[in-house]
């Protein structure tokens, strides 16, 4: 096994699937010579050629429309939307077409489409390049929504997503791509991490913390600190796939801990963790010793200035505080 970054793991998943299956191809902006805005597809043009690494004009709506049309006729496209903020431009094609085609046709079509996109803030890219818009897609029946938090999962989840016959929104985090802190051993061969299964990233008995994407890493940091400094043992659950949601892994955890903190980067109001909180409160009412609490982004767009951005997006200390408050 080799150590790979998140970015390398994602690239490897695509390369391996493309070698295996000639119907898999990439489509998106600046993914060819440039290798993608974040470098994820670097080298893929050289290996797979222009026919399968399709560089497009700047037309997000058409990218998803075209990918969808090719998916229902036998291809398995991986479409890249450079920043997740721009899924809004393609939202009709995502939510009204790709997501619904199978259902509207009475089950007589499949849409094996993966939409890869880079979400999250922390890069100073401001309000239109930093959003965490997963709640918008997770609400749409027909879509699956995946947010890997580490290289191992990224590779396995992406392979599962490509193998899946449904449209999958695969949201990567910009701050994970080259994050040296979370390089991992990643098997060379292909493997699947199943969609619809969460993962306990750290065991603990005092409190459960459920998080998504980069916030899993932040939560793990907070958990380590609290363990070392105060002997508090947090169980950190990586939700991994928002839809289908593995609610059982969270319920199992709170049976043990009685407390749940939900952590996400998106603005708290109307965010995805509302769903998690609602389900846990309903199904786990008897096991909860305290209300489910959310730590999430502030209710504003992502600001540009570093001081403001750090205030908007939850950091380790905010998560720590959330845990302590919930325990105390």
């Amino acid at each position: 096994m080799r150590e790979l970054t998140y970015l390398e793991a994602i690239r490897e998943a695509m390369q391996q699937k493309m070698r295996e299956d000639s119907s898999v191809y990439l489509i998106g902006e600046d993914i060819a010579e440039y290798g993608g805005a974040f470098g994820v597809t670097v080298g893929m043009l050289e290996e797979f050629g222009k026919e399968r690494i399709i560089n497009t004009p700047i037309s997000e709506e058409a990218i998803i429309g075209v990918a969808t049309g090719s998916a229902i006729t036998g291809m398995r496209p991986i479409a890249e939307i450079m920043f997740s903020d721009f899924i809004t431009i393609a939202m009709d094609q995502i939510a009204n077409q790709a997501a619904k085609i199978r259902y509207m046709f009475g089950g007589k079509a499949k849409v094996p489409l993966v939409i890869r996109t880079a979400g999250g803030g922390g890069t100073g890219a401001a309000a239109q390049h930093s959003q965490s818009l997963e709640a918008l897609v997770a609400h749409i029946p027909g879509l699956k929504v995946v947010m890997p938090s580490c290289p191992y999962d990224a590779k396995g989840l992406l392979i599962s997503s490509i193998n899946d016959d449904n449209p999958v929104i695969f949201i990567e985090h910009k701050l994970l791509y080259n994050n040296k802190k979370c390089i991992q051993n990643v098997p060379r061969q292909m493997y699947e991490v199943p969609l619809g299964k969460g993962d306990v990233k750290r065991e603990g008995s005092d409190i459960s913390v459920a998080a998504t994407s980069y916030m899993v890493q932040k939560s793990l940091e907070a958990a380590e600190k609290l363990s070392q400094e105060k002997g508090i043992e947090c169980e950190v659950i990586d939700i991994r796939t928002l839809r289908p949601l593995d609610i059982d892994i969270i319920l199992d955890s709170i049976k043990k801990t009685g407390r749940l903190l939900c952590v996400e980067e998106a603005p708290i109001f109307g965010g995805f963790m509302g769903e998690v909180s609602a389900q846990v409160s309903e199904k786990g009412f008897d096991w909860l010793d305290a209300p489910v609490v959310r730590v999430a982004g502030r209710n504003c767009p992502v600001p540009y200035s570093l001081v403001l951005e750090q205030e908007m997006i939850p950091g380790v200390s905010r998560i720590e505080k959330g845990i302590l408050n919930l325990l105390g």
Binding site: A62, V66, R102, F105
Partner: protein, 342 residues
């Protein structure tokens, strides 16, 4: 066919394009089959209208009455296994592509025996296996999908092409722009067939566009394009046949504007205040079925009596379909969450 025969082929000129008159070379049986299809569409829509009036359709329908020549002429000009995408006004395309009338009608009545098991209804009838990639409730919504199907054809080198039907109204959607541009830069095998029926709902084409011909949008993408008489089946057939050949060998997309007219209101509740009865009457005078029938009769391919029999046959077939639909069972409530995911 040998080169020596070339000179004998009849050519005609349509909006500046020199096009082979492939229609004249067709078997009589096919020419009559096209008439049958037009009748099927006409009477299917009449029956649907009756269902609407009798309150048996939950939801709305957009009738294709008066536009039959475009769907039939275009679809008969391509191969059976080629793809089409359709619109909210999709019954005509669907029937021309060979859909089973019983199963279609069942879908309109929301029955489990329908094309979509009652889940889609009029605006979502599809038959992916037969190459019909679906009607679409979103104006313009299928233009990207059609373009993607054309990309599949190119990547798989399967020799197929796509005909993408859409209305004049759809030509102002963003997806029209991004998709056709992609088809052009990638030389995709697709025919964009814009059915200009004078209105997008209540909005006249002349208010929504500041150009004479929608097909002039070809200049924005560097593709071929032309405007044809959409109520003349022969012209539609010959034009699409020509570009069918061009597209299939990689000579890129084309934008065909087919001038026609919708006889009925936009949907079930339309007082039609935006147009005059005279205008409608004038267009009814250009009935594509009457015009085509006259050609067949003039050319002695058909006699009046045969025509009457044909129409009668179609009518009873439609009655049959209506009966099948009425007698079909509704889906079970418990099926509601089926078919969301594969």
């Amino acid at each position: 066919m040998g080169n020596d025969l070339k000179a004998e082929k009849p050519y005609i000129t349509i909006d500046g394009y020199r096009v082979e008159d492939k229609f004249s070379g067709l078997d009589d049986s096919i020419k009559i089959e096209m008439l049958r299809k037009m009748y099927q569409i006409r009477h299917f829509e009449n029956e649907t209208e009756q269902f609407i009036i009798r309150g048996m359709i939950h939801g709305t329908c957009h009738l294709y009455t008066g536009e039959e020549a475009t769907a039939v002429g275009a679809i008969y000009a391509i191969n059976d296994d080629d793809y089409i995408t359709s619109t909210h006004r999709g019954h005509g395309h669907c029937i021309a592509k060979g859909a089973d009338l019983n199963i279609m009608m069942a879908e309109l009545l929301g029955k489990r025996t329908g094309y979509c098991k009652g889940k889609g209804g009029s605006m979502h009838i599809a038959d992916v296996d037969s190459g019909n990639l679906g009607a679409n409730g979103v104006v313009g919504g299928s233009i990207g999908i059609a373009t993607g199907a054309a990309l599949t054809c190119k990547m798989k080198r399967n020799g197929k092409i796509v005909v993408c039907f859409f209305g004049d109204g759809a030509a102002n959607q963003g997806i029209f722009h991004g998709s056709i541009n992609m088809a052009s830069i990638w030389d995709l095998p697709i025919i964009y067939l814009c059915e200009n029926n004078v209105y997008g709902m209540s909005t006249p084409v002349k208010e929504a566009f500041n150009i004479e011909k929608i097909s002039d949008r070809k200049y924005a993408y560097g593709i071929e394009g032309l405007t044809i008489d959409g109520n003349n089946l022969v012209e539609v057939f010959n034009t699409v046949s020509h570009f069918n050949g061009e597209c299939r060998v990689g000579r890129g997309p084309v934008l065909i504007e087919s001038l026609t007219y919708r006889w009925r209101g936009h949907s079930k509740s339309d007082a039609q205040v935006y147009r005059t009865r005279e205008e409608t009457k004038q267009w009814v005078g250009k009935d594509p079925i009457e015009r085509y029938k006259k050609i067949l009769i003039d050319q002695k391919i058909l006699i009046e009596k045969e025509d009457r029999d044909l129409e009668k046959e179609v009518i009873s077939q439609i009655k049959e379909a209506a009966k099948f639909a009425r007698e079909s069972p509704f889906p079970e409530p418990s099926e509601v969450e089926d078919d969301v995911y594969a």
